[in-house]
Symmetry: C2
Subunit: 161 residues, 2 copies
Amino acid sequence: MTATQISTVLNSQALLDHWQGHRRLTRRVIEVFPEDKLFSFEVGSMRPFSEMVKEFLKMTEPIVHGVATAEWKEFGSSDLDSVRTKTELLRLWDETTEKLNAIWPTIPAHRFAEVDKAFGKWEASGIHTILYCIDNEIHHRGQGYVYLRALGIDPPPFWER
Amino acid sequence: MTATQISTVLNSQALLDHWQGHRRLTRRVIEVFPEDKLFSFEVGSMRPFSEMVKEFLKMTEPIVHGVATAEWKEFGSSDLDSVRTKTELLRLWDETTEKLNAIWPTIPAHRFAEVDKAFGKWEASGIHTILYCIDNEIHHRGQGYVYLRALGIDPPPFWER
């Protein structure tokens, strides 16, 4: 067994596919929320699920762009704050899906391991900044599942991507 | 840029460290729950957080053992069902931490990509079965955060591992 064999557990395309699978599930969670609850319902003084989704949108494309280019844009677009409909949220979601697919193959291989300061603030390797973004989506989407259950609505199965 | 460079975004040790970082956070979430609420509190007719933790314990070691050896044990130990104290849950958590560290380096490199039927049921590559296990922990732990907020308790910061 060589060092190269030992070190490779996940390739770039597989990670993108994994993430887009999670993003398809998040999209279904957005869809299943009644529109008014999406923007208003919360448990334990937490944010409505729409605000968590806006956070995902504020991070995803800028992080992949930053890892690809070492150029860190502002964290999130303030345009998102005014979004008040499910249709607009889903439109932005799909736009980010396309951007993610377009930027991903341009990430230079060395940038996954290279340590950088994401948004000039958070020091981590490219892969860890990307994993943080994916994990953050899984974490908050899990909270959206509790909101749906509290509303008496069945969320989509976690294993369906 | 070679194909090998393109394909490697995460090595085996980095993935173990990433998972153990998540597991340290989950341990802190268990610790911060008041013992009675850990075993009883729920939102929206979901399970108490202790039941989610038992699910993590039922999956983690058997999955890593299965990916390492292609031998699939029974899903989870029924001994877990009788656990009723936080101390015992944390003891089992730490035991699994040690087992994970011990088994992980024995995973043959080819097993991450090899497709197998986890527990004789779920067909996926080794890496995807492992990622499912990690993602499932993040997903349900996020639900534990909602329980804590609903109880008026501050959960540990998500980014601290």
